[in-house]
Amino acid sequence: MGNKTALYSTHQASNGKLVDFGGWDMPLHYGSQIEEHHKVRQVAGMFDVSHMTVVDVKGVDAKTYLQYLLANDVSKIETLLGKALYSGMLNPQGGVIDDLIVYNMGNWFRTVVNCGTREKDLAWMSKVAADFTVELVERDDLAMIAIQGPEAIARTKSVVGAERAAVIDSLAIFQGLASSEWFIARTGYTGEDGLEIMLPNSEAVAFWNALADAGVTPCGLGSRDTLRLEAGMNLYGHEMDDNTSPLVANMGWTIAWQPTGREFIGRPVVETEKTNGVKQKLVGLVLRERGVLRAEQIVSIAGSNEKGVITSGTFSPTLGYSIALARVPAVTPIGTGSCFVDMRGKQVLVEVVAPNFVRNGKQVF
């Protein structure tokens, strides 16, 4: 048996199909992954994401520590309390240890890292912290619920009371603010507007049930994956890992090259890669015929001896056909006619698009 979130019994009682997810017993779906996906695109759905690891970074060196630890620069979020920043945490070889979100909490920072990488992340963050006056505090006392979809904010506001509703109203996109023991952020992993709320474990069940009563559909991690893939968002271990450069994982925009004097771990390697040019890139693939593109299928490009590989593939419930993210030779042209995927022994022609398929319910490629 794996780790259990504060909502474990609630998932069981709701007939959640519980599976192992990075050492946690998490719901894959509560009946139909596709129906849950549609609810998020059309109304509102909620996900238990309490398995994710929250680490607060405090101390006088918190800022300089994170400026050295992360490829993105936390000075970008200094001007707005609660502002969030997406960043890679690189190793000295320029690979990605993890991708994470960091929030400006005033005179300290809150980071949210992946559950599957928790141990190596904490070990690395602690090791780097040895040279700084910082304190790392893992917040396993907090549950986290993501409420996503066009109706997510309105329905959440209807169950949290006037004070927290006002906090929600004040949030800019990609900003989070504390409200007593809660932390309410306008962030997500679905391509829809919505919230991610951290709250004490002891309050999670009551909040979840109140949201359900307000018509927010419980959704499992299955639909979370199809939603993030439609939104072209990376998943650690698929689009990038310890041996993948952020530059070939569509994460170049998350590297703060300025100021040139800021040293961060991995900088010399990725800077050289940037200067020389990388040999691969991340693209989107679309297959309008029958069949589902799957991770690890091999991609061939006409006129190139180099092969690519699908990093994530799925059936897109919103589009009604299959989509994928793939790491392919940098020369791969956008469009159709030259890219083939080996699907169970058959070479199938696919269209190459920018790695983004659906935002706010609409096709975007």
């Binding site: 894959l28 779906h29 139909s32 992954q33 596709i34 299955g222 199809t226 029958r290 069949g291 589902v292 799957r294 799925t314 059936f315 169970r344």
Partner: protein, 130 residues
């Protein structure tokens, strides 16, 4: 425990077969199989008039999770396929033993069905897998 129908025969790869009154045999996948696959999104059935053989792939079912080959329990000629699955593959999830059937075979040798698993054998198999 997923539903297992007493009157059907089974394969360890989770297909079922039903002997119809006209001597043809209907093939589908079990309730256990559809539950393990999750939402079914495509079904590829053999063509009417083609021949299918025991031990050889006769079709494919693709779900959000995985692609899986479909095997027949009897060799013979395909006399009907469930066209409705092209438009509504989710019927395999909602009605695996009835509306979600895959194809129907005119068997060459009906004795092949005796080689397949009984409902009790199949129940034992999936209990041992769980």
């Amino acid at each position: 425990m997923s539903e297992i129908r007493k009157e059907l025969k089974y394969l360890s790869s989770h297909e079922w077969a039903r002997l119809e009154e006209d001597g043809t045999v209907t093939i589908g996948i079990t309730a256990h199989a559809q539950d393990a696959l999750g939402d079914v999104v495509y079904v590829e059935t053999p063509e009417v008039g083609s021949t299918v053989s025991v031990g050889e792939e006769a079709g494919v079912v693709e779900s959000v999770k995985a692609a899986s080959d479909i095997y027949t329990l009897v060799s013979g000629t395909v006399v009907a396929v469930n066209e409705a699955l092209q438009e509504s593959p989710e019927t395999v999830n909602s009605s695996p033993y009835d509306d979600g059937w895959f194809f129907r075979v005119q068997p060459d040798d009906l004795d092949e069905l005796d080689e397949a698993l009984s409902a009790d054998d199949y129940r034992e198999l999936i209990e041992s897998e769980e």
